[in-house]
């Protein structure tokens, strides 16, 4: 154990910091859940790519920097420190990208990864269906082979970024007689293909963030099958591992929120409930614990370890921490807590309400926390399924 950055890691931090300080837009971009904001974010991604920072841990040939995961953590820390824009293509770069690296053919890697790294192509993920939420094995959308194409029918829903994304990855039943986990395949679909209709859905924050996607005899080339036909479940589990386990929620995000929460408390110490002090400091400690655990996990991965069911511990921890931090912030804000950013009395505090509404989704997406608890109990603690 040696919890000191190497000289190279420090040098990389400095390089990232210098670049970010010079390049991060001084004014926040519009929300990427609006068309205009979506395009602004893509522009930013292009700039990030040109600077060589879009995909720090990816191999150079796919548009990355060839750095290791520790450097990625350092980059994330600098990224949040610099208040850089949210990553519009997170479904692609953090979830699908690593899955393509593991399961993709050389042609698929060359075809998809560089354009993903630059956000020329932004991705949505399509697991959920009206009748397949927590019970993902109940997926009913079908993709039936017809020569060198799949003919897709059915519906996906809650696809984040779906309103403006260019591609969707998801699971479809390629064997119509199959049940549950069998007979599913992982397929990459261009959202502009004939037969595909995207209908945006407004989220709790009144913005069109996710979408329903309807497939009506849509034809997708068999070249876009990821992994083996009928083995989509295994492929998707690897994506889910990344989502819960590591990439989607790097600790810097929560450390940033925790530091802001401490600052908010200090500003309002005289006027808020003194009992909140303990909750504020507990939040800060939990954000640190999350960071420490992530460094531990990354160190383990670099030594050849794998992320397994313990990703579920992670998902519960960060999502509940995020809700708690925002709840405490709203308590500190008192009567101002309900104001939207544009209210003149809000004085910038409206961001906390926005963040709170965002945080509330954490225990639901990426597998609800109840499902994660089932996984921990059954797969880590060995309790009986039935």
């Amino acid at each position: 154990m040696d919890l000191v950055y190497t000289a190279e890691q420090e040098a990389f931090r400095k390089e990232a910091r210098t670049w970010l300080e010079a390049n991060v837009p001084s004014r926040p971009l519009k929300s990427f859940d609006t068309k205009e904001g979506f395009e602004e974010h893509r522009e930013w991604e292009k700039q990030l790519q040109a600077g060589g920072f879009a995909m720090v841990p990816w191999p150079v040939e796919y548009g990355g920097r060839g750095a290791n995961l520790l450097e990625w953590l350092v980059f994330e820390e600098e990224y949040f420190r610099a208040k850089a824009p949210a990553r519009v293509n997170q479904n692609g770069i953090f979830l699908l990208g690593p899955t393509i690296m593991e399961y993709g053919t050389p042609e698929q890697k060359a075809r998809f990864l560089p354009k993903m790294a630059s956000s020329e192509e932004v991705w949505a993920q399509g697991w959920s269906e009206p009748n397949a939420g927590s019970d993902m094995a109940n997926i009913q959308a079908t993709a039936i082979r017809d020569g060198d194409h799949f003919v897709i029918n059915g519906q996906k829903t809650w696809a984040s970024r779906g309103a403006y994304a260019h591609w969707l990855f998801g699971m479809f039943r390629t064997d119509p007689d199959s049940e549950r986990h069998r007979g599913l395949s992982f397929i990459l679909c261009p959202l502009d293909a004939p037969g595909i209709t995207v209908r945006p859905i407004e989220k709790l924050n009144h913005k069109a963030a996710f979408a329903e996607v309807f497939f009506d005899d849509a034809r997708v080339s068999v070249d876009h099958l990821l992994g083996e036909e009928g083995k989509g479940w295994n492929v998707s589990m690897s994506t889910a591992g990344f989502e819960r386990g590591l990439m989607l929620r790097s600790p810097a995000r929560f450390q940033d929120t925790a530091a802001k929460l401490v600052a908010l408390y200090k500003e309002n110490e005289g006027s808020c409930d003194p009992g909140l002090k303990r909750r504020v400091v507990d939040c800060w400690m939990r954000a640190e614990a999350y960071t420490l655990d992530t460094y531990r996990t990354v160190s383990r991965l670099l030594e050849g370890g794998k992320i397994g069911a313990e990703a579920s511990l992670n998902k519960i921890f960060w999502s509940e921490l995020d809700v708690e931090m925002h709840e405490v912030a709203l308590e500190i804000l008192g009567w101002r807590a309900e104001l939207l950013p544009q209210a003149s009395e809000a004085q910038g505090v409206g961001e906390w309400l926005d963040g709170y509404i965002f945080a509330l989704a954490g225990p639901i997406y990426a597998g609800t926390n109840e499902i994660q608890r089932n996984i921990i109990a059954e797969r880590i603690l060995g309790l009986p399924r039935k």
């Binding site: 154990m1 420190r81 940033d256 530091a259 655990d293 519960i316 089932n374 921990i376 109990a377 039935k386």
Partner: protein, 352 residues
């Protein structure tokens, strides 16, 4: 940057785990309780053969010459086994304190005896002023303000203070502080006691992690085996989720404790902050797991017969040891709310 343990460290941990699961069984612990003691000389001698009391004793004094990074996993094992021996005071606190005192005669006399398993040293710090196992100690290191006093047990009055955990035998020690007993004072004494507190709290936190792990294992095993409504109670989701919650708390306490071990071993400037974070996280996890483990066991868990409470009591008493959570929480609060505190991404391993 590398947040993992070496093979050797992990091997030592499994060796100690195997040893304790054979030698420090609930029967052994209960026998000691029944005889009104917690320390078992034969067990201590075997631990000395493994190197446990002398983990932090320098090689020059016939010890293992290890650091807290090595010992933290071993303290976890002591907690997993609910080992009732005075390992925290003697091995984790007294040995390095005797090294740091810089008194060659004292170090030369006591360190080899600690490592050899021939001396138990009791420590009394003002944060938890009662002394564990003072009646079986060969030397007492006691705090008076900033001063460190080395006191021969037979020159002091030792008054038993019966407490909740029979494995934690507490004593009030009255002694005459004077030139003859004083071995450090002033700034030197203050910093010695500060380090002693951090080492004691770290070792207690590590034991709490081990004890929590054991509580979860006991409850999970019981939940698999106990049947109601025609199936194992572990198949009920309410039971699953209780234990899953325990596991989340445990796994997010563990790295905090491991980092604190690194901070103590390397004397980083935020050492005390890191130790307090570790103690809070570990004690919270342990308290929570004891409650849930008891609930999962039902009435059976509420009996003296059932072994569960050996670990529940450890969890309670280790929370008391070396600063309760209110003490450690305040230390964290003070640091975090300080005007000069630098928080946020990128600061975890570097104060900047």
């Amino acid at each position: 940057m590398r947040f993992t343990f070496d093979e050797d460290q992990l091997l030592f941990q499994t060796t100690l785990r195997d040893f304790l699961s054979n030698e420090c069984t609930p029967e052994v612990i209960r026998k000691a309780w029944d005889e009104g003691r917690s320390h078992t000389p034969a067990l201590w001698a075997q631990l000395a053969e493994l190197g446990v009391p002398g983990l932090l004793v320098p090689e020059a004094h016939d010890g293992m010459g290890m650091s807290e990074i090595d010992s933290v996993l071993l303290f976890e094992e002591a907690g997993r086994a609910a080992l009732p021996e005075p390992v925290i005071a003697t091995a984790a606190v007294a040995a390095p304190l005797l090294v740091e005192l810089g008194d060659e005669a004292l170090a030369g006399e006591w360190l080899p005896r600690i490592g050899g398993g021939d001396a138990i040293v009791g420590v009394g710090h003002e944060v938890s002023p009662l002394v564990v196992d003072a009646d079986v100690s060969h030397l007492l290191l006691l705090q008076r303000g900033d001063e460190v006093h080395a006191v021969a047990p037979d020159s002091a009055e030792i008054v038993a203070q019966p407490a909740n955990d029979p494995s934690r035998r507490l004593f009030k020690v009255n002694f005459d502080a004077g030139d003859a007993t004083r071995v450090a004072a002033g700034d030197a004494g203050r910093s010695l006691w500060a380090a002693a507190l951090d080492r004691g709290a770290l070792a207690a936190a590590a034991q709490l992690v081990g004890a929590t792990d054991k509580l979860i294992t006991l409850a999970a095993e019981y939940a698999e085996q106990r049947q109601q409504f025609g199936k194992p109670i572990g198949s009920f989701q309410a039971v699953k989720h209780m234990l899953a919650n325990c596991k989340v708390k445990l796994e997010y306490a563990r790295p905090v404790v491991h980092r604190a071990a690194h901070s103590v071993a390397r004397s980083v400037s935020d050492r005390s902050l890191h130790v307090s974070m570790a103690k809070v996280a570990a004690a919270d996890a342990a308290q929570f797991a004891s409650r849930q483990a008891l609930q999962v066991h039902g009435a059976l868990g509420y009996t003296w017969e059932q072994d569960l409470h050996i670990w529940m009591r450890r969890a309670w008493s280790l929370e008391q040891a070396w600063g309760r959570n209110d003490f450690h929480r305040s230390r964290v609060e003070e640091r975090v709310l300080e005007a000069s505190a630098r928080l946020g991404p990128g600061r975890t391993f570097r104060g900047e």
